[in-house]
Amino acid sequence: MATRKRRFPALWLALAATAVAQTPDPQTPPAAPPSAETRLPFAGYMDFHFNKPRGQPGQLDFHRFVLLFGHSFSDRIKFWSELELEHALVEGREEKGELELEQAYVDFLVKPYLNFRGGMLLAPIGLINERHEPPSFNGVERPFVDTVILPSTWFDGGAGVFGDLGRGFLYKAYVMSSLDATGFDAAEGLRGGRQKGFESSFQNPALTGRLEYHGRPGLALGASFWRGLTGFNLPGINPRVRVVELDGRWRLGRLDFRGQFANVGISKAGELNVALQRDLGVSPNVAERLRGFYWESAARLLPRRCPHELVAFFRYENFDTQNKMPRGFQPLKQFDREAFVIGATYYPEPDVALKFDYTFLRNQSRVVRAVNSLNFGIGWWF
């Protein structure tokens, strides 16, 4: 062969040139680049925090250790799950941490615009509940509005449909287990009412849904709702909860903006307070309306050619878990709050986020002072 190469050098040259000129086989994917990551059969994210409230000792908290597992039974039937350990230690009381099955469902993919899903689901509400991987948001802790107005992570058993309607519109609509009104309170609203799939009552299933628009690069808009009767543990009272939420994200060059508005209505809140006071000995002072909103501006500070990224951000939040009280109940001013969060996120690579923020928390009370806090965190995704 070597001899033949020497004898026909021009022919070899020509064949080589022709090979370059030809279109490669389009259906044969070229080999993955050497930098491509190994695909593991699972994924996960972790969130490790240092929180220092003013005037109090600092705390280290391994806030979240989350593993996600999936499996494709076929191209049309897929399983997905998320198992979360919160605060590192589980000892039978929530103060010692929680082990939660936040997602475990099977998808039946039929058409892009109509697919079916059943199992343990995330309520499709808001910016954070379904998009809560630490590198995907600024700030060490999740926004207050996504904690005390919308109780993320909000999950329960259910089933529903989802799909892509075209022109950038996506939707989800689920029937899920409802909230338990006996867990509502003044400080954190609906949060204590989540059943979390633990032998959840399905006596009055709740309806929830979300419509998202992703039609233009850099822009994402969303609207979601939740409504359900929540009194299955209360004789004679069945408060209806209605949640409406609007959100948006916009990327403009090196700037990122996001905002969210959420409103929660609870019917028969007065009767609920009386009934719970009868049981607990003290009124939980549940409001008839909870309301909150926030907006956030962020700037990517390093030039595009830099392999790292540094994001500075500012977020303003306004949230009131006693925005409107039922007749005969007075709102407590310490629950009418606002937060100014200023900080930075450094990404040594896109899936690792080193976070810092300082949170100025204010409330309308002259008696109970809100506490500012200094926060550091490391969050990563793999």
């Binding site: 021009a10 259906q27 930098s35 990551e37 695909r39 996600l68 997602q103 892009p112 039609g215």
Partner: protein, 114 residues
């Protein structure tokens, strides 16, 4: 030698076996959507997908074509995939690398028209 050189020049200068219509389609991927999520092309088109991510690695899988590649993370370049749209029809594409809580929602559609 002259004959060899003639053959060489002729081969190098020869046009591709057939002329194909080419189209470049740019797709942006982020948790948990492809933008655009629906792509329309004419049958017979060779489509060059250029896919970039706004956050983490995603997968770009077209089951009907046996294509399954990794989209680099934000700022790490873009994925280029050549796809021959041969027959009219609707062909799914999806994220094939777990990317977060809403991973299974991350899907799209190639509509190949007559």
């Amino acid at each position: 030698m002259m004959v060899e050189l003639f053959v060489a020049i002729a081969l190098a200068a020869a046009p591709p076996p057939q002329t194909e219509k080419r189209q470049t389609v740019r797709i942006s991927a982020e948790r948990f959507s492809f933008i655009p999520s629906q792509v329309k092309v004419k049958a017979g088109t060779v489509v060059e997908f250029r896919v970039s991510s706004e956050d983490t690695n995603h997968g770009f899988r077209i089951p009907s074509a046996g294509i399954d590649r990794i989209i680099p993370k934000r700022g790490k370049g873009e994925l280029q995939v050549i796809y021959r749209a041969e027959r009219p029809g609707r062909y799914d594409f999806e994220c094939s690398k777990p990317c977060g809580a809403g991973h299974t929602m991350m899907r799209g559609l190639i509509i190949v028209e007559e």
